[in-house]
Structures are given as structure tokens and as C-alpha cells.
Symmetry: C2
Subunit: 112 residues, 2 copies
DNA sequence: CCCATAGGTATCATTGATGATACTACCTTA
DNA sequence: TAAGGTAGTATCATCAATGATACCTATGGG
């Protein structure tokens, strides 16, 4: 373990706080895989999410600088979301978690 | 992004579910850094946690196969916790999150 | 005889995250 | 004239996570 990690003030919570939530990882994956998406596209791809939650999660990700929000002043409204360059830094972490998650799901099946 | 990641059934939640909680990362870091620890040692190192929560988190980590629990039939009781070999797989992920977390804390300070 | 110790459980209260549902603005098309 | 589409907000209800507090066990030491 990296010597300078001080558990009592470590920054893992920072990353977790950004990623957790029932919907954030899946939203991020869609934006990373498919690129820029409209609000309604995301809603269609994740039908179980309520509008309220989708809005909330996107706003939080935006506040963290991970997602960019662009509003087109049209009628009907058009709002596009995309991953920022800064947000791309999360990709390796998400991938590592995905990989570990698969192994772990397997592990749990074996020890069920 | 890895092509075979299907957001709608991805395993990131699996990893997140294992790591989140107000106390799990810090518990894992202590066990990874300091090695085997007694219940009371962990409690001393994380004074703000209640016994109930410490017990609960440790039991959950044990159930996931990440932490090993060894009971010594003595009086007063002695119980030791350690990271399993399997649990070691999480170390790179925790480190990556820690690193990103530091950058992100910096980022937030600059954009405050 | 009584208390401290280690590692817990049991019970209740509180809080934050999530969900269901209804409502809005504005323009275009039928 | 009414309906439909987009991107939301507002309000209320519910549930899981966390916390505070008290209690339990057995034994060795004073």
C-alpha cells in the first residue's frame, strides 16, 4: 500500500461520493460509450429511472466537473450531456471496478 | 471503453456495493496497511465509529470474502481481522480511487 | 464479592436517498 | 382547438443506512 495514504483522511470517499448512487455509474457508462446524449435519450436507455432522479444525478455530475451540460434555446427544449475531459480520468477506475465486479459475482455464485 | 460492457447489467455496482459505506474503505485501508488487527484496535483507530457499525461492516466484508475473521476462545474474547488474498485484489482499485480523489479535492478547491 | 475487559446484541430514533405522481412552459402540427 | 413533445419542478411518501444507548457474557484480579 502506498505509504502516504493516511486512512483517517484519505480521499477514497471523495471518489466514492462521486460515483455512488443507484444511477451514476450507468449514466457515466452511457456517456462514455455513446458520447454526447440528450436528456431524453438517457431517459429512454434507462427507463426505470425517474425524471427527477435523472435530473438530479446529472446536475451532481455536472457540479463535480465530470459531465458537461449544454442547453440549446429551442422549442421544444434540447439539452445535451457529455463527459468532460476531466471526467475521462474516471474511466480506468470504472473499468477496474467492472472487472473486479465480474470476478466477484462469479465468486459469490461459487460460494452461494 | 471496453466493448463488452453492457451498462444495463454492468458489474460496477457489485464493486461499489462492496466498497461503499461510511466506514468500509477506511477499515480496509487499515487492514491493508497494518495487517491483522483486533476488533478493539480498529475501534481505537476509528474512534467515531460505533461498535454496532464496526461489527456490521466487518461482518459484511467477511460475507463478501474480503476479510477473514478469527475468533480465539479466550476470556476476555479475542477476535482478529485480516484481508484475505482475494480481498487484496481490491487494493489497486482503492489506490486508483485515492489518487483520483486527491486530484478531485484539488479541483474542487480551485473551482470553489 | 464486585468490577473491569473484549466483543459483541437489542432497541429505538433520525436522516438521506430514492420513488410516485402531478404540474409547468413553450411551440408545432393536425 | 387540442394534442404532443422536451426538459424539467414541486410535493409527498417510503425505505435503508447510520447513530445513540443500554445490555450481555465469562473470567481473572483485587
Amino acid at each position: 500500500m502506498n505509504e502516504h495514504i493516511k486512512p483517517d483522511q484519505c480521499q477514497i470517499q471523495e471518489a466514492l461520493g462521486t460515483l455512488v448512487g443507484k444511477w451514476k455509474p450507468i449514466i457515466l457508462l452511457y456517456l462514455m460509450k455513446e458520447g454526447t446524449q440528450r436528456f431524453s435519450e438517457l431517459k429512454r436507455e434507462i427507463p426505470e429511472i425517474t425524471q427527477k432522479m435523472l435530473t438530479k444525478q446529472l446536475r451532481e455530475l455536472e457540479a463535480e466537473g465530470i459531465v458537461a451540460r449544454e442547453v440549446y434555446p429551442e422549442v421544444p427544449p434540447k439539452v445535451e450531456y457529455s463527459i468532460t475531459e476531466y471526467g475521462r480520468d474516471l474511466q480506468p477506475i470504472l473499468e477496474a471496478m467492472h472487472e473486479w465486479g465480474e470476478k466477484h459475482a462469479q465468486y459469490k455464485k461459487e460460494n452461494a
